[in-house]
């Protein structure tokens, strides 16, 4: 049983505060992905959990033990680095065994654990090789093996897939997920890649400027983003944002060029004329003529095979992206904005407005 909890973790580098009071509870066996743009503090947070960085204030608690002041080696963790950090002069076996050797485990036990981990990862035949003689994917596996043999309470992954090519990344992503499920080790995974985050995580922490903007399961983050940052960050292509104002009674929003959209799921609180931002995902925008359709002047068409991404401008100059099934060509695309898929945000704070 291993849990992780972060209690009001703050970090400043000199005058710059990079983490503003992070609270997080990770349950036993859970894989939590920390995702955010570069510079949002996600790596710093991971390094604080690892003990490679000291928090300015706050506590790191692993399995009910306050480890804030402890050395990395005493925290019962294992970490997979972005560039794997395999010692180049040691064999694969040496790399995987090094931590165990330092801990003074008996030789036979070390052999057993390394063999078992190599078996799981399918690198049994590579144990005598040097890291230099391995491909990227194999190095990745060795780095994972080094973490597994330690049998830690907590796995930490620091963007472990970003040095792989696209195809291998998808493959290793699935492999990491399977492995983590199979071993049932509580894990923290840092990435800037939203697809990685969505596919891997039991829960996601979307970080924005040193604060967790939203902590929730992937599908909830996708379907109910907490603010405009999360809404724009998760999903590809990004969500369309349309400025609007709240109508009297809160039942509809009026767009800048005049037309109104009725909220499908109930009135939003707030005074009439309150500035709003409406969010609509490109895949929810439907092509079609109608009385309230918006004619998009097409600027760019990106054919992706099974679907087509169309970048266009609505009357009034607003940029709108639509994702249509199949192929598309043409200069004008009339689209409907379906009220059922509308996300409503307060333009001032950026927070989501629910009925």
């Amino acid at each position: 049983m291993a849990t992780l909890s972060l209690r009001d973790v703050r970090k400043s580098f000199n005058a710059t505060q990079v983490l503003h009071g992070i609270e997080l509870e990770v349950a036993d066996g859970e894989l939590v992905v920390i995702v955010g743009a570069s510079g949002c503090g996600k790596s710093t947070l991971l390094r604080i959990v690892a003990g490679l960085e000291t928090p300015t204030s706050g506590q790191v608690v692993i399995s009910n033990r306050d480890v804030t002041g402890l050395e990395p080696a005493d925290r019962d963790i294992a970490m997979v680095f972005q560039n794997y950090a395999l010692y180049p002069h040691m064999s694969v076996f040496g790399n995987m065994a090094y931590g165990l050797k330092i801990r003074g485990l008996p030789r036979a036990e070390i052999e057993k654990r390394v063999q078992a981990a190599a078996e799981i990862l399918g690198i049994g035949a590579l144990l005598e090789r040097k890291p230099k003689q391995l491909s990227g994917g194999q190095r990745q596996r060795v780095a994972m093996g080094r973490a597994i043999v330690r049998e830690p309470a907590l796995f930490l992954f620091d963007e472990p897939l970003s040095n792989l090519d696209a195809k291998l990344r998808v493959q290793m992503r699935a492999e990491i997920r399977r492995l983590q499920r199979r071993l049932g080790v509580t894990s923290l995974f840092v990435t800037h890649d939203q697809v990685e985050a969505m596919t891997l995580g039991d829960r996601l922490v979307v970080m924005n400027a040193g604060r967790p903007a939203q902590v929730a399961p992937p599908m909830e983050i996708f379907s109910r983003p907490a603010d405009t940052y999360v809404a724009g960050f998760i999903g590809s292509p990004s969500m369309n944002f349309i400025p609007a104002t709240l109508e009297e009674g809160g039942r509809a929003a009026r767009l800048a060029e005049g037309s109104a959209i009725q909220f499908a799921d109930g009135p939003r609180p707030g005074p009439a004329g309150m500035p709003l931002i409406l969010g609509l995902r490109p895949e929810h925008i439907e092509p079609g003529d109608g009385p309230d359709s918006l004619p998009l002047a097409v600027e760019l068409i990106e054919p992706l095979g099974s679907e087509t991404v169309v970048h266009g401008r609505a009357p009034g100059g607003l940029a709108v992206t639509a994702r249509l099934p199949g192929a598309f060509s043409g200069a004008v695309l009339p689209v409907q904005l379906p009220a059922g898929h509308l996300h409503v945000f307060d333009a001032g704070s950026g927070r989501r407005l629910d009925p």
Binding site: P72, A73, A78, M79, A85, Y87, H89, Y98, I102
Partner: protein, 297 residues
């Protein structure tokens, strides 16, 4: 339609071939001249060491080997040469070897430790320490020789190995080279080692030293030759004949004024003095080049 005939400019082709030939001849001529200039004095020494003492004494300059090689080298090796019948070359070679190895090993050890401290630890005065080391680069042995001599004599270290070697060990060059190399070791190794539970000394022994092997080998070659060629300091600090080093001993063999020099023995000793550095370079050449040109990553 018929293909147009292939154009072949024979004149241009010949001119190109001639130009290439000329440039190769010029390059080789320059190289051969260079080799001759460097090698000729060594050839003279080699030849001189195979004649009897009379030949050179009469002012002849033989260009072909003579017949006295064995006895000359035996004299130099066993009895020593020169008017004063100084220390035998075998002993001086041993002394020089000991001094050069002690200096090289000492310098490497102290430089690795100080560079390790400067690169991997944050401590107050770290940059001050680094600059202090750096500034000593401007003070070679010769500049600080009088105060150093005073210190060593006051410490009663004259005529001792410690007095001979220690002042020559303090070295900024090697520290700087190691610092530059250590800076190229990625932070992730340090962090991975921390998570593996390796302490600073363990990290030094298990990761930093193995990664520095080629650099250490290259520096060993440079520092061995530096130590071997030391002249001024051993001349000052060593009076004991039994501790004479070969570079100093060699110059002491040459008498002044009217005295007759045993040039044949002196040249044999000079050849012997040449051999160890040449051997070190030849044997460690592969490592030497690798250490200076590539990093293992």
């Amino acid at each position: 339609m018929e293909a147009p005939p292939l154009i072949r400019d024979d004149a241009l082709l010949r001119a190109t071939r001639r130009r290439r030939l000329v440039s190769r001849v010029v390059a080789h001529a320059a190289l051969i001249l260079g080799v001759l200039i460097v090698a000729f004095p060594i050839w003279m020494t080699l030849v001189g060491s195979t004649h009897d003492s009379g030949t050179i004494g009469r002012g002849e300059v033989p260009l072909l080997p003579g017949t006295h090689a064995v006895e000359n080298y035996a004299t130099a090796w066993g009895k020593g040469g020169g008017v004063m019948r100084t220390t035998p070359a075998s002993l001086m070679l041993w002394n020089s070897l000991l001094m050069a190895v002690l200096i090289a090993v000492g310098k490497i050890a102290i430089s690795i430790l100080s560079a390790y401290a400067v690169v991997f630890f944050r401590f107050p005065g770290r940059m001050a320490a680094f600059w202090a080391i750096f500034i000593t680069l401007m003070l070679p042995v010769e500049v600080r020789i009088i105060p150093t001599f005073q210190v060593i004599v006051d410490l009663n270290l004259g005529n001792t190995w410690a007095g001979l070697v220690i002042p020559l060990i303090a070295s900024a060059t090697a520290t700087l080279l190691f610092r530059q190399f250590f800076l190229t070791i990625p932070d992730e190794f340090v962090e991975a080692a921390k998570i593996d539970g390796a302490g600073p000394l363990r990290f030094l022994k298990d990761v930093v030293l193995p990664l520095s092997l080629t650099n250490i080998a290259a520096l060993f070659v440079i520092l061995f030759i530096y130590g071997w060629n030391q002249y001024l300091w051993p001349l000052l600090i060593i009076n004991d004949r039994s501790m004479e080093t070969i570079v100093v001993g060699l110059s002491k063999m040459i008498g002044r004024g009217d005295s007759q020099n045993d040039w044949n023995t002196i040249m044999a000793t000079a050849v012997l003095a040449l051999l160890p550095p040449v051997l070190v370079v030849a044997l460690m050449q592969r490592w030497f080049v690798r250490g200076l040109t590539e990093t293992e990553k």
